[in-house]
Amino acid sequence: MTEAPHTLLSLAHVTFRYRAVPALNDVSLDLTRGEILGILGPNGSGKSTMLRIMSGVLHPQSGTVDWLGSPLSRVPRTVLARQMAVVPQGGTIEFPFSVMEVVLMGRAPHLGGFAFEGDQDVQVAEAAMRRTGTLDLAHRCIHELSGGERQRVILARALAQVPQALLLDEPGAFLDIRHAVELYDLLRDLQAEGMTIATVLHDLNLAALYCDRVALLKAGRLVRLGPPAEVISYATVRDVYETEVYVDTNDITGAVNVLPLSRVYRERLKR
């Protein structure tokens, strides 16, 4: 097969339980090459769990997860790490590594044993830092950075892995509006270069603006899957999030717009 497979990641009837409670219940989903997939849902709906299943950290009790056609659990870890990168949310680093050292750890899957990083590795790392706007932080200690800066450094590390697919868990959580938009713009650029992206996010508007498809989860079940314009509607938001919002289509961007309403307006809308 000379052509790259169309579907990178395929989840089929995946169920995952923490103890007795199912965090994911019979979820089926495909990640298509070159798309940006948004994973949405209220708190506790299983978004992070799904991301962990997709990256192979968790193994479902039933159902299958395939990566590039073969079962995910069979793919050797180092091979997978060269193809898929994950940007987790938060996390502390106890030791005083420098930013450069952290980003260079993204090269670990490409290096063996005890080897030292070569010039090429350094160049890849620097390019990744440049794209995330963290190159001038290279010599700083990771402990000195703010939450947002650290998030971008972790993203640079993931980019240094030079993966085909990028999985992110709420990458905009610590970022202000400018940096959040910059980050998503970066994801768009990466998509244009051929990267496939799946990201968990909170912000319905950003999802509508940047994602090709969104998967909407509620209590571990996949409720809706499709383009944001179809999925994000007043009815679905009311069903899934159990709150009233004002949904509109934006004149400038053409994307769906979700406006939260205060109680006064929610009452009004009911009538």
Binding site: M105, G113, F114, F116
Partner: protein, 337 residues
């Protein structure tokens, strides 16, 4: 330099190795008894007291201090990486307590049969260390995985338990066993046997090299368990390997020299501040620097009071207190996030 290059690796290690060599030479010439180097180095004629002191009592002891210090420091650095806690120390996991208990029990049992070898102690203590390692490992497993936090807690509990058992055995057995317990609890590097030094050196070097080979994995482990998994590291296996290797290393060292604390805490921590957190450099550098530190501590222990010795564990502990104060001040200055 913000990351580790081959050049820096070689430079730092060469510097420390040179320092170690100088330390060994200086320590061999230092002691409560002044020796005449000329007389000591004379090959012909009967052995002068100077030569006996230099070659039969001082040199083996200094070499043993080098190996023990290096082993403790490397094990400390590895355990700090494993437990993701820069304040971890080899003795905190209770392996040394188990080793001491094993040694004490072995000596008491062997003591009933005067014909049993005096070397019952090292064998017994190594078995004690091995048993304790396995015990902690089994107790700390959750769902078949080794979590650092659980491991730390289990180790602390086992340590306390081993300590209690030691006191219990002590109270049951003859009061004079208490004398022997001093050796375990305060440590002693006194030896006249080059064979012992060679044996433990081989073991320690092999373990240190093996741990250094895992250094990259330890680096990545610092990013967090999930991140490490996603970067291709077999977290479970790496953790198990590091735990086993460092524990057995500590057990072997304790069986030979008793419990000498703080080396495994102070040396890696200081080095991390000086040469960075990258374990590929930290581990070998800790080995060398640990040797330097313990040789000086032991030289002080055997020289400071003239013909009377201070137990070396006391000297290292005395270094520990100001070090902790220094650590606290440092942590206070660091920004919290």
């Amino acid at each position: 330099m913000s990351f580790l290059t081959r050049r820096r690796f070689l430079a730092v290690n060469a510097f420390l190795a040179a320092g170690l060599l100088a330390t060994v030479c200086a320590a061999a010439l230092t002691g409560p008894v002044r020796i005449d180097l000329g007389r000591a180095l004379q090959w012909s004629g009967p052995a002068s007291p100077d030569s006996v002191i230099l070659f039969d009592t001082r040199l083996p002891r200094v070499l043993l201090a080098t190996v023990v210090g290096g082993a403790l420091a490397v094990a400390g650095a590895a355990l700090q990486g494993l437990l993701r806690n820069p304040l971890a120390e080899p003795h905190i996991l209770g392996i040394s307590g188990g080793a001491a208990l094993g040694g004490i029990v072995a000596v008491i049992l062997a003591g009933q049969h005067p014909l049993a070898a005096i070397s019952a102690a090292p064998v017994g203590s190594f078995l004690g260390a091995l048993g304790t390692t396995l015990l902690i490992y089994r107790l700390a497993l959750i769902d078949g995985r080794l979590q650092p936090y659980t491991l730390l807690l289990t180790g602390v509990v086992v340590n306390a338990f081993a300590g209690a058992l030691i006191m219990f055995v002590n109270s049951l057995a003859d009061f004079y066993q208490a004398h022997g317990i001093l050796f375990w609890l305060m440590g002693s590097l006194a030896t006249q046997s080059y064979r012992l030094v060679a044996g433990i050196a081989l073991y320690a070097l092999a373990a240190a090299l093996w741990l250094t080979w895992q250094a990259r994995h330890m680096n990545v482990l610092a990013l967090g368990e999930e991140a490490a998994l996603q970067l291709g590291v077999d977290v479970d296996r790496t953790r198990r390997n590091i735990f086993m290797a460092s524990s057995l290393l500590v057990g072997a060292v304790v069986s030979v020299s008793g419990m000498i604390g703080f080396v495994g805490l102070i040396v890696p921590h200081l080095l991390r501040l000086l040469v960075g957190a990258d374990h590929r450099l930290l581990l070998p550098a800790s080995f060398l620097a640990g040797g330097i530190f313990l040789v000086w501590a032991d030289t002080f222990a055997r020289t400071a009071l003239g013909s009377t010795e201070i137990p070396v564990g006391v000297v290292t502990a005395l270094c520990g207190a100001p070090f902790f104060i220094f650590l606290l001040k440092q942590a206070g200055r660091q920004a919290f996030d």
